[in-house]
Symmetry: C2
């Protein structure tokens, strides 16, 4: 398994694996410990390496042609933990005109003996866009 | 300001403040540093003490009669960071019969010179319940 020198290295591998539907690469981004948790929109939370691996396997079975643009919003750095908050813009089948709302995501990484690895992924839907006012409508 | 000896102490104060619509108590649960972030369902993320305080002030202005049941799901403990994943069941006006879906929540706490304080709150809506099958319907 690779050793990631920074939390960002582990995060890059996580999103590369997601674009490539590569389960082995995906799981290499996560900690070897069992206290890991993955919370995806529209799915129940899953905990531990086996459950998280099975969950990604299900998602990757759809074989989506997916690109992901990452827009970092916020970092919190601690001695052996790093928190990245980002917006993940998913682009399916190269279609950049019909953009989905980006997923608001918290990723947490822990520094262990084997370098930095993900311990939590929490992605959720953003607030809906404001409702446009028709001309003449009262606000 | 109080000094919280554990992450749980800070989390208890956070949810007490939410039930009591007590802004001062709420902000005492958060770190004094500016690298803090609050992500609520249906609201844009807010960062830093002033923006987070203003956001809670808006929420508390509704003066909801609110109780919150916390169901911890998962803890990750690091040397100076703690991660709590929980389901927060909101109960409005004492109505326990019409239960909303619980908010899936990640809270992150950091240990500083003044004890443990919250640095991130990320609450999101759970997946919708499965659609019930009418008798005789094919699954």
């Amino acid at each position: 398994m690779d050793t990631f020198k920074t939390a960002q290295d582990a995060e890059d591998v996580f999103y590369d694996a997601l674009e490539e539907s590569d389960l082995e690469k995906m799981m290499s981004a996560w900690s070897d410990e069992e206290d890991i948790i993955c919370i995806q929109p529209m799915r129940n939370q899953v905990r531990g390496r086996t459950a998280i691996s099975n969950s990604w396997k299900e998602i990757f079975a759809a074989n989506a042609q997916l690109e992901i643009e990452i827009h970092h919003q916020h970092w919190i750095e601690m001695s052996d933990a790093a928190v990245h908050v980002l917006h993940a813009q998913l682009i399916f089948n190269g279609d950049r005109t019909h953009r989905l709302p980006p997923l608001i995501t918290t990723n947490i990484f822990r520094r262990g003996e084997k370098g930095w690895r993900m311990v939590l992924h929490h992605a959720s839907l953003p607030p809906p866009p404001p409702i446009p006012q028709a001309p003449g409508m009262k606000p």
